[in-house]
């Protein structure tokens, strides 16, 4: 049967043109006002403060260390809430059974979903920027050298956007109230497990956003302090994350009816381009290798100009032999200089004593598997004698206070300094051993607890004379209490500093040649 109404259609004037931008902004404003991500901001900030902020701020105020810690920490903190909130928003239309109503509107599904995604992403980015500002702001206040590293920040930002896209697409295509928790948990585990397959510095898996440098080297305080930060890995990571984000957002337009043919072609192109970019980034990361500065060099992205050391004016302490550190480590100078000062006062001006002690970078080398070899700097062959110094922080050791670092420096460098001047060591005479021990005693290094190290702390290649709990670390093995050498050492240490110094000035050559006996010591 056929049904028909009789009245003719009445023509109505329609608006001639629409301004596309303004309504989209109004739609965005509405979405921002009713976005699940906004409700999760307290959770995000609490996670950041509990997990990342306190840990990062306990680290040395070095930009590279803090930036790396913030990148890894924020990515991990944001994974669950952002992915979950985005999935919740992506599944909103189906959960609220409003699909039919919105589907028959003029605005395309893709456009509508992109606005909702953008609102989620804006809230997530605001949260991220807040966390970053807190971390970088405090670091800027504490750091004595260098400046903020923006590439690690960009990686974390790109990752936050990717979390939004992953969650949103999952929610849009698998709408259910269980999608959000499931995809959030999945995102966290994928992230956490993404570093497991890394083997050596040529692994493509280093593209994972929680990796901030050659995975086997970890976050090294010395990296990007003496040399510029190499953004090769960060560039690849941003490329990977942005590529995946674009690809996922393009996928939203692929279902039939989402957009017109032309826009769907654009979306498909975006998806393909995004996947290509992500794939290229993974491939590029696989071509990388750890350079001597401890950073990942990716040949296609590498700027050779960044291999030149940074020019800086070291900060020096007022000790008899100046102790000079990189300005980024200026906070450590007072403790380090005052810990070394007594010993340096004994040695200053003597033949064999260094003219200066200067902090130097270590060199990194990829060893087999996931291990890294660290090469300590060597004294310059020509020119004034300069002792290269490496702080424990530069070696990726657990965080220490400035006082702990200074004690370790004295423990590891003190005996060497004395030995270099006195000629102490294997084959040394008893007189040399006694004088070396006496100098250490005079410098206040006779008590073990002064320089007892935290477990596992030692500078490779410069072992402390004894392990904690062993015999007195300030003496050579043959200088035991009760021996004539020990008595001579105590006698020597008891002398006024000027007398001791004058005697050494007169007799050092004979002492080093092994021509003096214990009886000839003052």
């Amino acid at each position: 049967m056929t049904a028909a109404t009789r009245a003719p259609s009445a023509a109505r004037p329609r608006p001639a043109a629409r301004r596309p931008g303004l309504p989209t902004l109004r739609l965005l404003r509405l979405e921002l006002r009713h976005n699940a991500m906004a409700w999760l901001l307290p959770v995000v900030f609490a996670l950041f403060w509990l997990v990342t902020y306190r840990k990062t701020m306990a680290m040395p105020p070095l930009w590279n260390v803090r930036a790396a810690s913030l990148q890894t920490g924020i990515v991990a903190d944001f994974a669950v809430p952002v992915t979950g909130a985005a999935a919740w928003m992506g599944s909103r239309e189906a959960r609220r059974r409003i699909t039919d109503q919105v589907m028959i509107t003029a605005r395309s599904r893709w456009e509508r979903l992109l606005v909702t995604w953008a609102a989620t992403a804006i809230w997530a980015m605001l949260a991220y920027l807040g966390c970053l500002a807190a971390g970088y702001g405090v670091t800027a206040h504490q750091a004595s050298g260098g400046g903020p590293l923006w590439w690690p920040a960009a990686v974390a930002a790109a990752c936050v956007l990717l979390f939004c896209a992953v969650g949103f697409v999952a929610g849009a295509f698998l709408p259910s109230r269980f999608t959000a928790p499931l995809v959030a948990i999945a995102a966290f585990f994928v992230l956490a497990l993404s570093t497991e397959p890394i083997h050596g510095s040529q692994s493509s898996w280093q593209v994972s956003p929680i990796v901030t440098g050659p995975w086997d080297a970890g976050v090294q305080a010395g990296v990007a302090t003496f040399y510029p930060f190499q953004p090769d890995l960060s560039i690849a990571q941003v490329m990977f994350l942005a590529g995946l984000t674009v690809a996922l957002l393009g996928v939203l337009a692929l279902p039939a009816g989402s957009v017109g043919r032309a826009l769907r072609a654009v979306a498909a192109s975006c998806t393909v381009a995004g996947l290509l970019a992500a794939g290229t980034a993974v491939g590029l990361t696989g071509t990388g290798s750890m350079d001597a500065q401890g950073m990942l060099d990716i040949p296609a992205l590498h700027d050779a100009a960044g291999d030149r050391p940074l020019a800086f004016t070291p900060v020096c302490g007022r000790t008899a032999i100046p102790v000079c550190l990189n300005p980024a480590y200026a906070a450590y100078l007072p403790a380090t200089a005052s810990a070394l000062a007594p010993l340096l006062g004994e040695l200053a001006g003597l033949p064999g004593a260094p003219a200066r002690i200067v902090q130097e970078p270590v060199a990194y080398q990829q060893a087999t598997g996931n291990s890294v070899a660290l090469q300590l700097p060597r004294p310059a062959v020509s020119g004034p004698p300069v002792l290269p110094l490496v702080l424990p922080d530069q070696l990726g050791q657990p965080a220490m206070t400035a006082a702990q670092q200074a004690n370790q420096v004295v423990t590891t460098y003190g005996p060497d300094l004395v030995a270099d001047v006195i000629g102490d060591g294997h084959g040394a005479s008893q007189a040399q051993n006694a004088v070396a021990t006496g100098l250490m005693m005079a410098a206040g290094l006779r008590r073990l607890d002064v320089y007892q190290l935290p477990a596992g702390h030692a500078i490779p290649g410069r072992q402390p004379p004894t392990a904690p709990g062993g015999p007195d670390a300030s003496r050579s093995p043959d200088v035991a209490p009760g021996t004539p050498a020990y008595a001579a050492a105590e006698r020597f240490a008891a002398l006024p500093s000027a007398v001791r110094h004058a005697w050494l000035g007169q007799h050092l050559a004979a002492l080093r040649a092994g021509q003096l006996t214990l009886a000839q010591l003052p």
Partner: protein, 247 residues
């Protein structure tokens, strides 16, 4: 004609929810009656461009909704209230209606007025700032009607629009329907024959996917003279036509 349907069929597997429907509608209020499962909602969803027909031809406002461009143009001028409309509980009434105004691409300059007018027309003017989660079922229904009419549609499709409305609101709503029918084609799918009697100039009765009667409410009532079951002439006409179609 605002709606031109020829041989429209929609199948779900072996079941034909809509089976060869022909319909030509101009401005006015058109009632669509039928028992549960007759195919009314499927027909409305096809007319709303929410679902594609399996076969047949559909033209809305002189355009073919099968193509994306014309479909967008149709949708700008279309209003649709589903049988179970969804809503976002956190939105206020005004935001909810504004949301749909934006999705329907109502020109920016007109949105504020269009939203206020739509809310006033469903008598929710004093609840514009109330969140949807705080509204009663009837108020939610009215808010959903407001979203359907915010773009002053030329084709308005309403699926069970008076469900949940109290008698006073139902009377007011019928007046609104008559007013909207002055300029637009309003298709009302309902079980309530009194709504049809009060508001519709034309009525069709669907059964098993087919239109088994089309005419005025008076003509339908006349079919029930001396036969059919029901308390009112229209109900008796309704049951008589159905019985005849099934015999």
């Amino acid at each position: 004609m605002n709606v031109e349907i020829t041989g429209l069929t929609r199948r779900f597997g072996s079941v034909a929810a809509v089976a060869g429907v022909d319909l030509r509608l101009g401005p006015g209020v058109f009632g669509l009656l039928g028992p549960n499962g007759a195919g009314k909602t499927s027909l409305l969803r096809i007319m709303a461009t929410a679902m594609r027909p399996s076969s047949g031809s559909l033209r809305l406002l002189g355009r073919d909704p099968g193509s994306y461009g014309p479909r967008c143009e149709i949708r700008r001028r279309l209003g649709y209230l589903p049988q179970n409309p969804g809503y976002y509980p956190g939105f206020t009434v005004a935001e909810y209606v504004e949301y749909f105004a934006l999705l329907k691409e109502v020109p920016s300059a007109r949105i504020r007025v269009a939203v206020a007018t739509a809310i006033d027309r469903v008598a929710l003017g004093d609840r514009g700032k109330a969140r949807l989660r705080t509204l009663s079922g009837g108020m939610l229904r009215r808010a959903s009607i407001a979203q359907a009419i915010v773009n002053e549609p030329e084709v308005l499709l309403l699926d069970e629009p008076t469900a949940g409305l109290d008698p006073e609101q139902r009377v007011a709503f019928r007046a609104l329907l008559r007013d909207l029918g002055q300029r637009a084609t309003v298709v009302v799918s309902t079980h309530l024959v009194e709504d049809v009697a009060a508001a519709c100039a034309q009525v069709a009765l669907m059964d098993r996917g087919r239109i088994v009667f089309a005419g005025t409410p008076d003509e339908l009532a006349a079919r029930g003279d001396g036969q059919g079951a029901g308390d009112t002439p229209l109900e008796r006409g309704y049951s008589a036509v159905l019985a005849q179609a099934r015999s």
